[in-house]
Symmetry: D3
Subunit: 61 residues, 6 copies
């Protein structure tokens, strides 16, 4: 606790994800006063075939 | 906003998913007065090995 | 199955929600060939104090 | 209804998952008085590249 | 880890919820070999005005 | 897109939440190269009566 979930479009590199969890953990820890070892982050890749805006799947655009 | 998530058993075709996001977006937009370009739909395929009813995984039935 | 979740900003009327679940259920049922009595819909109201865009909570705008 | 989701680190065997859904369904059914055929369980495998504690992805440890 | 979420219709007593988390934790711990102090359970009450089956909200039935 | 959800124990102040969404948005935006106006953050307060560790609800401890 706290638990952070980041849902993002597929395609980010491992390097970006590594930086993402590091910076997000720091941001959460500092602002709500939670020890960083208690901050859990879940990453979810979203495929373009599973995401639609305005009634259209992204892989159809 | 709004955000719609549809979790369904794996196996639907791309054609069905295309129709699904189109019709669901229209249904949401009309009834709660949200512009369609602000309606986001997430599709989630559920595998039979990840879903259980009555204590049994579906791929064991 | 299928399971549909609609997350929307607070403030919609009961009448709108009633129409929403009716139309969404029909849209899902028709397009992915699921019987309507197997379509489950969950509504989630999002408060303006719990939702941020561009780093700002909506109740601060 | 009820709906149970179990998110766990990848690597459990089919045998373990089979036992998991059986025992969890029984535990839920007995304690909140829901018929087992109305207990739905969703399993989610979490990859080590998608999960971070203390700002570090598990596959980096 | 693991993380368990139980979504159920509103109205269960504190006593039932206490038994629920105890038994579910034991069931998860035994079957997938996770120490009980690492099993986290989240309970979510679902209101009848937020849940629909067959296109009808439960509080309309 | 991206969508960030932060689930935390109840009791944080509005001031803390304001800082939280600001810093988290910046962290996500910088690391995965997403414009901040496309970063959506959802906050979820978790009550002590809805959260259990080691088979015990937090409000029973």
């Amino acid at each position: 606790m706290p638990y952070v979930t980041v849902k993002m479009l597929e395609g980010r590199t491992e390097e970006q994800k590594r930086a993402l969890v590091e910076k997000v953990t720091a941001a959460v820890s500092e602002t709500i006063d939670a020890p960083p070892e208690k901050v859990f982050v879940f990453l979810e890749d979203l495929k373009k075939s599973e995401y639609a805006v305005n009634g259209k799947l992204l892989n159809d655009e």
